[in-house]
């Protein structure tokens, strides 16, 4: 039962509770007081300074809203634009949803625990906002819905809670970006996301992060996928960040449910990443895949992955490849946990440098050593993601292309 008082009580009890993994952050160093921003109409949205627009585009937000099924745009603590332009798709700020709709109570904090750690607690105790995106039964999203969480105020701690629901037989594509204003240096982003993929629904969720160098990022995500559903989760972070830690969990709760996680990370010096995914396969016919490509240019990257097979006739694969380009550390921790006979689980992990043989081969075709290296890196990062709409694949390709200059 939904009881806000009780949730707040539990949150209060966890206010000092450290995260299960990752460096501990003192949230007192950040300011989480509301920052007023006025709502922006379409014209105003398009009039955002070009430099900021560029940041937004890098995070997947197109202010012209062309080829987008809906838009949610939050700046610091305020929703400044929220709009849907497709039947069957709802985009609602979560505070508004909690105020006006009863159904939201069946989802709010139903998968994530409010008292998991100080970060979940902080979001509940001072919720700024967040988005609820819902595809009604049978609706098919033609264009992806875009959601952007933007930070402008230096030193801010942004607390958001998102809920994504793909109702039965629906198809929903979301591109979500988090970005910081060009001048911004320091801040924290704490985000709760709960995903509900219902019977035979398909949800693709592509997240592109574009942080400032001194950002602390602590997303907390849990998903559940019902019978015949598909959850495709892509995460791209090619920019520096102080510390990023997340370990999203997915539960496959119906037969033939499928979850696939893809992440592409480039770690620059001074950046610390601890990320991965955990998928529970609980019904026959469940499939799960976790694929990570990490490059370190001097940053520290811990790439985790944990697949848990609880019943026979499941299939799960984990692939973790890391490339050390210029010092740094890549620590791959793949875990497979088969709890019964008849599970089929595998993993491959490799960490290394670019093979000299590959560079020489490309040089023999006329590329300089630098061009050859860049070509190999681009190839390494380009992952074919089955089931992803071409448009979103193009967004990912662009992020990779853009970051190319930084990587080299």
């Amino acid at each position: 039962m939904y009881n806000r008082e009780q949730l707040r009580e539990r949150a209060s009890s966890a206010i000092d509770k450290k995260g299960a993994i990752g460096p501990d952050i003192n949230l007192d160093e950040f300011d989480d007081a509301p920052v007023p921003h006025s709502y922006m109409a379409d014209e105003e949205l398009c009039a955002i300074p070009e430099q900021d627009q560029k940041q937004l585009i890098m995070a997947g937000l197109d202010v012209t809203k062309k080829e987008r099924g809906g838009t949610y745009f939050q700046k610091d603590t305020e929703v400044i634009h929220c709009h849907t332009q497709q039947d069957g798709i709802e985009v609602i700020p979560i505070k508004k949803a909690l105020e006006h709709y009863d159904w939201i109570k069946d989802y709010y904090w139903k998968l994530a625990s409010v008292d998991a750690d100080k970060y979940t607690a902080a979001v509940e105790l001072n919720l700024h906002d967040g988005y609820v995106i819902r595809a009604l039964p049978g609706s098919k999203s033609v264009y992806p819905v875009q959601a952007c969480l933007y930070l402008e105020k230096d030193g801010l701690q942004q607390n958001v809670h998102n809920i994504i629901i793909a109702e039965e037989d629906s198809e929903l594509h979301i591109i979500t970006g988090c970005a910081t204003a060009p001048h911004m240096k320091r801040g924290a982003h704490v985000g709760i996301s709960e995903f509900f993929v219902k019977k035979n629904a398909k949800l693709t969720f592509t997240m592109i992060h574009n942080w400032a160098e001194d950002m602390i990022v602590r997303p907390r995500s849990v998903a559940q996928v019902e019978e015949g559903g598909l959850f495709l989760n892509n995460y791209i972070c090619m920019k520096p960040v102080r510390s990023l830690q997340m370990y999203p969990t997915t539960h496959l709760i119906g037969k033939d449910a499928v979850a696939r996680f893809y992440s592409i990370i480039v770690g620059t010096p001074g950046s610390e990443y601890d990320l991965g995914g955990r998928i529970f396969l609980k019904h026959p016919g469940n499939r799960a895949e976790i694929v990570a490509r990490t490059i370190s240019n001097g940053g520290n990257i811990i790439a985790r992955g944990h697949l848990i097979g609880e019943v026979p006739e499941i299939k799960a694969h984990l692939e973790c490849r890391g490339l050390l380009l210029n010092g740094g550390l890549i620590h791959a921790i793949p875990e497979l946990e088969g709890r019964v006979d008849g599970v089929e689980m595998s993993h491959e992990a490799a960490v290394g440098k670019i093979a000299q043989e590959e560079i020489a081969y490309l040089m023999s075709r006329g590329l300089s050593e630098d061009e050859a290296t860049a070509t190999i890196v681009r190839g390494f990062l380009s992952v074919d993601i089955p089931g992803l709409p071409p448009q979103l694949q193009a967004e990912i390709d662009r992020a990779i292309e853009e970051s190319d200059k930084d990587v080299m």
Partner: protein, 254 residues
Amino acid sequence: MLQIEDLQVKLGEKEILKHIDLEIRPGETHILFGPNGSGKTSLLMTIMGYPQYEVVAGKITFKGEDITHLPIDERAKLGVGMSFQRPPTINGLKTRQMVRLCAKDEIDEETLAKQVNFEGFLDRDVNAGFSGGEIKRSELLQMMAQAPDLMLFDEPESGVDMENISLVGKTIASLLQKDLPDVETKSKMQARLNRTKMGLIITHTGYILDYVAADKGQVLYDGMLSCVSNPHEILSCVGESGYKECVRCITENN
């Protein structure tokens, strides 16, 4: 013209090429024979400029320029190209992109690929899971796009099935300008004089000789060039008596 003078090469601590002299003039194609481990691939890799093959003495000149110590890409830019026997896989790089990278100008990779029955592979990662024969056709396709003036072929027919062998042979012939077109103003023999492309082809089977008119055959034995002769004659001699005959030539030559 490619000119190699008294070339000595080490791979690690091992001396693998000893006093090699070789000259390939514009328009000429040479066939390189020799038993396994005799240094054939090493010679090609050295000409291409692979740094692990350390030139300890001698000189390689190409188009009048001393390329002995040039990096690989600069040799490629001068017009040296190689079809590798076991090229590495490049994950995430499509064959289509690779073919485009090889060409200096815009090309129509579909049309090129059709010529070697390779359209179906353009959207696959370079060499990923390719069979022996597929690798050869992929390499040929890249040569076609790159169009180098000196082409080094490392066993271009090994692993190729009978059906594709004539395709591979004819493609190499065409790359080396062996397919002389009928031109009213010139006789075929005159056209032959206008050939500029040079080739150096490693073969064990000699199948390639059925398609490519080669000018000279060379036998490399234990890091030494032991014999220069008509490639067909070398092939039949080796077929009858084996490479051990070469030892006698080496002894005599020295």
